[in-house]
Amino acid sequence: MMDGSWKVGVDIGGTFTDVIAIDASSGEVRTAKVRSQTSDPVASIVSAYRAIGVGWESVSDLMHGTTMATNAIVEGNLAPVALVATEGFRDTIEIGRQNRRELYRLDVTPKLPPLVPEERRLEVRGRIDAQGSVITPLSDEECERIAAAVVELGVDAVAVALQQCFTNTEHETKLGERLEGSASYVALSHRMNPEPREFERTNTTILNAALMPLTAGYLNELEGAAGSGTNLHLFHSAGGMASVPVVKERPLTLALSGPAAGVAAAGKIANELGLDNAIGFDMGGTTTDTCVVIDGKVQISSDQRLAGRPVRQLMVAVESIGAGGGSIARSEGSAVRVGPDSAGAEPGPACYGLGGEQPTVTDANMVLGFMNTDRLLGGVIRLDPERARSSVKPLSDAFGIPIQETALGIYRVANASMARALRRVTVERGVDARSCALIAFGGAGPMHAVALAREFGIARVVVPKFSSVFSALGCLTAEFSYAEQYAVRMSSTSWDGDRVAELCAVMKDRLAAPIVAAGHDCGSIVTRCVALVRYAGQSDTVEVPFDLPLDPKSLGADFRVRHERLYGFATEEAWELDTLRLTASAASRSDITDLLEAEVSESTMPIATAECWFDSHGALPTPRYERGALPVDWRVGGPAIIEDNWSTIVVPPGAKAWTDATNHLIVEAGDAA
């Protein structure tokens, strides 16, 4: 069979599947957006292929992000799992951290029920202490007893999570080997999350085990459909590509697959445009995802939650805010609130005409004239300005404020609450938002981006080309990369350089193995090392990059510089290397810029002029431009609207916008005039 020449990035989201493809021989780029078929992800890929007119046989590489794992966790659609815990600890997952979710709501259950019910929680005799010494050995008879109990339970998937296993992996490994014949899928906690905190590690391991049957089934089906001519890769949560065998063993790595691809694309754009610090801003209908790029690096975190469950693995640090275009505005006495209630996708904003009646942020945007009523949103939905107006009218009447000013108010409050969330994201990462550029994508992001930038004192907004299929773009341009971290806990006063060197060497080899197996040359693999360092007794660590071999003196000095920058002080006290984090990547596949042969301009004339309302300006005649038709180096001053089928970029008075050499749109926020 002839190898195809198309490289394809596909992101299967909850509602839409995005695709972008490039033909390696001609350089031609095609994109499309199709409805996702939630029950059959392979069918989503097939219909995406059909939309861009390529078949399986012409695809050389499929790079693919999916919300499959996320949805399974959120919807609780998980395979039954047996848990093996240390004797005395099977209830850890039910005790949890004993804090309650809601402080004042007594009607809400304070915790989620445990992931594994009591009858499937087994205890094994055998104990290791915090220094890795075996206190009670794990006997062969115990292993036999557990294996028999697992068979008796009749489950396919087993999670093994023993106390202090990360200090000495002997017991988990032994159990894992014995269990191989008793269950199809076994997840060991020291492989998932070699760090202390039994509740979080156990939950992470259980989630992984529970996803293994589903993921293996899907990937087997996908491999069958793709045949041998296509290389399959999946986008993992830490912002890179993973091979199919790796994902089968660690399906939880897909937990943030889709958003991570968008984040990775934002990171690439930031690098290509030479932006050191940037905030990714992806505003959708019900949620807004944000992420931070610092010193050109996408931020990674190992401590996040998914559907209320702790997940300890390296994932891009995406902060999801429960506010979006569907957030509902309402009055509460003399006060006004926007969100957290949302009209969601069903019934959606009033102007969609799908039965929604309450005023949403999108309806406010409609009243302000930002959205083009002549255009079908996404080529499907006809927007109805009358419905938008009548949804806003009751609020306008209640406050005695004209309808446009009410809409403007909703727009401002929505921006203020997003600004509050963005503040948290940047402060937690120790970065001053004013030093960042705002990279806006997703349906509603570009509509709010400039106003939000002004709220923060951010000077520059970037709306990348292909912003509406941004996650697919992230897939297409991703590199193979694997990351892991290991809890070391070594004080600068009792430094063991040999141990650190050995740990780094072992991690480096382990990370490189699947990249080499995928056909990359060992010499082309780049390893990035980060030490998580803190003063003894501190909780949060500071990320300090270092080069191998690790020099403790320069690590200490770099740590103090960064600590001073983050917290405004640093002392000469002893510090502690808490954790080592290594990332191995194969050389980058393709730069986004390479994909963006600027097209020949068709027209720089506005397609229409409409009245839009901006802060304190009243109605202003505002030209609308078709984004796809704009040439490079084209400039416009606000007010202006630049739009395509999927998104609307609002350039308010006082702002300036232009297209760069690769057709990214840049907006200088300026001041509200």
Binding site: G88, V427, G430, D540
Partner: protein, 529 residues
Amino acid sequence: MSARPDPFTIEVIRNALTAIAEEMSLVVMRAARSPLLREAGDLSSALTDANGNLIAQGRDIPAHLGVMGSTVQEFLKRVPAERLSPGDVWFLNLPETGGNHLPDVKAIRPVFAEGEVQAYAVSLAHWADIGGAKPGSYVPDARDAWQEGFRIPPLRVFTADGPDREKLDVILANVRGAEEREGDILAQMASCRSADERLQDVFARYGAATIRAAISDLHDQSEAEMRAALRTLPQGIYEGVDWLDDDGAGGTPIAVRVRVDIGDGEATFDFSDTDDAALGPLNATPFTASASVFYAVKAIAGPDIQPNAGCARPLNIVTRPGSLLNPPVERPVVGGNHETSQRIVDAIFNAMKDVVPERLTAGGSTTSGLLLFSGRDPRTDRWTTLYEVHGGGEGARHDRDGMPVVRPHMSNVMNTPAEVIEANYPIMIDCQALRRGSGGCGAHRGGDGQQRIYRITGPEVWLTTMVERCVIPPYGLQGGEAGEPFRITLERPSGEICTLTGKTHVRLEKGDRIVMETSGGGGFGSVIA
């Protein structure tokens, strides 16, 4: 004063001010040294107006509600605003100066704009040690306030030029763990400074007059929310009582009595009939009493009420001088903050038990369940203190069973993972399991408590307990049965077994085991035969 800004502008300002308070808490949690702050988040941050009226609170900790605003108001009675300068950070912890107990140290920074003080940023942090007779500053046998630790009246520790080293040294010389404490002080300072910087932007943007008008409106909004919440309760006078096990000085249970008078959109909580001040450290300040009342009202009637000074206006809280809830200044108070405060909530629930039973939860483990282990770790030769709180079963409700092992009501501090304890302290955890069957029976069952077993691996460790509900069990509602009370058992390798009381101090040796069994929740409704 300028005209009222439009509701959208007010909402935008509210978001901006709340963001500033939230950021303060993040700064403390990230930079602090002590596990209590970094892991457990035992801290609060707030902004007040120039008169000390609470505007916005960061992370909303029930025990600190009502304390943050009173701290500034009482501070201003002792330090007139004329003595304040831009860049100051003042520290204080006196319980009688708007406070609760000595370990909760507050940092206050005046925020100047347009030439005068416009606001105060307050950062409260629970220090893991504030000196006094015992490590960790929980002294069950304290009989006066000075045994409980170092008392800090309002003290200007930072000016715009930086720290006053001598004052800092006086504080650090009087607490254990000077390095860790200095880290906490710097974290609180950094938190107040960030609030000042952000507030400067907000004042520059909107102008002080607009901000003042918006704040006044936010106070009115919360007042209206509180009145609306109170109107959902039937008017009338309801009496309730709950008991402390004891005050740590021996003796019998101590009563917290409340007379709740619900009027039309207003309410009085009169605690005059509560017992006299205790000899031991279970007294609570009137500010703690206010925080407890706010919590109870929010939980029963208005979970979404925005916490600011406006919600206090419809509430009248009466405490009798000389009583447990308004003690003479020389009486010790350290346990009152999280034990007696919970009794106040339980007394109010008791008063409302036949009025709005469907809004209540039966009795839970309304205590911190505090075990404080201190000792030298032979592996590092360092002195370590583990401050560990224990949740128990949740009380049942009219429509569901209680859940196992949670922290109820006034506190929500997390546990420390067994693996973290074993790595940092001379202790092994032999078991952490549900205490099955400890929840009370009823049409709906109370949740189960937990059993955690601590085994001492060092030569010498001191244990302090500060635990309620060992004698008085968590109550059932509407015919449901009480849950099992707390039980703390000491098992020596010699085979000797003894039950420890809820307020004690005992020396442990290698091989000793502490079996902590926490209470089950009360049941709701009679079991139908």
